[in-house]
Symmetry: C2
Subunit: 149 residues, 2 copies
Amino acid sequence: MESTRELFQIMTRRFGLLNKNCCTVGGHDITPVQSHILFEVDRQHHPSIQQIAETLGTDITTFSRQIQSLIKMNLIKKTPDPTDRRVSTLALTVEGKYVATTIDHQMNAYLDDVFSYMTEFEKETVLRSIKLMNEAMAKSDYCCKPMLG
Amino acid sequence: MESTRELFQIMTRRFGLLNKNCCTVGGHDITPVQSHILFEVDRQHHPSIQQIAETLGTDITTFSRQIQSLIKMNLIKKTPDPTDRRVSTLALTVEGKYVATTIDHQMNAYLDDVFSYMTEFEKETVLRSIKLMNEAMAKSDYCCKPMLG
DNA sequence: AAGGATTTATTGCAAAATACAAGTATTTAA
DNA sequence: TTAAATACTTGTATTTTGCAATAAATCCTT
């Protein structure tokens, strides 16, 4: 009998592999870390560097350098916040938006392929379940936050 | 409206963070990569180095060195395969088994906390869904295998 | 059975990722 | 107004990573 952890561990690993192999877009080889960053910058509204670093649970100094790479690749732009000049807000460039969108489509296409092995009802159940899981994880104090230390 | 990819991306990230912060066991600070390795070595029956590397989708040279670390930490032992002396089979040491088990319990405890925010029915649905997802992912040729290149 | 191809794993690099410590610049607050 | 706090960057050292090249064992073809 599979433990709960085992189920999640395996699914998470498979999804991670998908992320790893997805994608080379527009001549850019995007690492999983970069893919996560593009994803989050796209999702959040003009996030600060610290916000994204915290969301992803990485050290801010490491993250600062990751951003520098993405700026050099012309995928992200950094704008000083007018109300607080210590802060830099991040946004995708046009090219960055294109890359992020393409990755998104690729990933969804792969996931659609997975869902093709289920009935429509099963697919809906799975999606509802993941949503449930995300909501519950957000509520839990112990689990799954970017806890430090 | 959240895309399929978005749902999985967020859940996967949260689970990854959990893995990252879980656990310091018996004086050992286990990295997520090491945790994955212990998990897989525990699951598979006397796997070879290549088998695990392939499962986890990492380069075999990187993996070879990871194993060396874990051997130094006395968590894994390497035995030459009598039927093919090129191959080394891996197994957990007593201490490694203890560490792996402890991590497993920790992770399950965290997940139980998450499930405490659901009804029993919802929990069962979620678990069935993850199982479904794993089966479908295993069937898919495109998705989620340790595809190289 | 011999010899070349294949497989398994390990090292030699060099590049990239990571994080602690220290630093700069700005803002908050006492 | 000046000390503390915050946001971010840079210095430095360690670790991780992976491509080449290598060594050793096995497989395969004739």
